[in-house]
Subunit: 202 residues, 2 copies
């Protein structure tokens, strides 16, 4: 008889659900499950609540499509941010990565993906139209294209620079220095910070 049966379906189900999380293999799932079994009920309850709350309270900012808990996100809300610069990223997690560098003080625009013909994602599937509306106000003087330095990211940046430059807005790209083929999310703060400072015109 397998221990999975031994612990009943409750533990089996927890192992299954934990195993769906990124970077969690069967051994990690088991380690976490046993940790939760050994932890006091309060700790387990807090984790479960935090998971539910994040889904209940977090939605997309209607301006930049970053995650927000109030009507708009904290970056868009923040009057001290430089409203003349928009940094375009693929995912909300990239906003996190750039914020951690402390180097950037402008606004963001989250595309919600990258152009990828293989996955049938074109500009229509991304928040490109909304980006163009933001530029139409004339308030924005520079757009930093901070998509990942991989094939899809470069394709997306090239596409965006072609449609944005005719609007008379300066377009820049994060400086090389990021390892090509790498993932923006995993860059260390210093490398990413320098890449932002040394961004080049496209």
């Amino acid at each position: 008889m397998d221990q999975t049966q031994n612990d009943g379906r409750a533990l089996r189900r927890l192992l299954d659900e934990l195993g769906r999380l990124p970077g969690i293999g069967p051994k990690s799932a088991q380690r976490i499950a046993y940790h939760l079994l050994e932890a006091d009920a309060e700790e387990a309850r807090r984790l479960a609540e935090a998971i539910l709350d994040v889904k209940r309270q977090v939605h997309f900012c209607p301006i930049c499509f970053n995650y927000a808990t109030r009507e708009t996100c904290d970056v868009c809300d923040d009057a001290t941010r430089d409203r003349a610069t928009i940094c375009v990223v693929s995912e909300p997690r990239d906003v996190s990565a750039i914020e951690r560098t402390g180097t950037y003080h402008g606004l963001y625009h989250v595309l919600g993906g990258v152009i990828s013909p293989m996955d049938k994602v074109g500009p229509e599937q991304l928040h490109v139209k909304e980006l163009l509306s933001r530029l139409a106000s004339g308030e924005v003087s520079e757009v930093i294209l901070a998509t990942n330095p991989d094939v899809e990211g470069e394709t997306t940046a090239t596409y965006l620079s072609r449609i944005i430059k005719p609007l008379g807005v300066r377009v820049s790209r994060l400086a090389s220095g990021l390892p090509v083929g790498g993932d923006l999310e995993y860059a260390d703060e210093i490398t990413l910070g320098r890449a932002i400072e040394a961004r080049r015109a496209v």
Copy 2:
């Protein structure tokens, strides 16, 4: 402004709670949190429910102190298991590890720890008394001491063999083959299975 603020307290709290789990550093916590934000609400709800259910439904078996969802655990419940052999382990997760080998068909006894004077854990803090009561029935002919092959595990095994042998019960220890100083939980099935088969009398 930090992105943690940006996402509001809900995400910060989820990151904190995930960071408490074993083997989850800040980067893993963030990866998991963003995965949950991107996942459909149903997946997040299932994970939260699984965490709560496991705490609600799983308790300790009153016979062997393994985890159980019914009154006693599935091993104790299973009429096909060999009731003449008890395998003594430190933690319920060790039961899992041994069950996965498919090599062992007897019962278990979970001590709930190991003797460790440094941590002020003596035999009184472990389920040793309950083990001795089980042996008093005369039904048990062999006790396998399957504590970890580290200092505390060996100390605990030596202590138990000294008090069990006078009762006329055969006492054995998992065969060497497990890397000394290692952790039983991480042994691969084959190594652990062989160690069970080649267990030596103490």
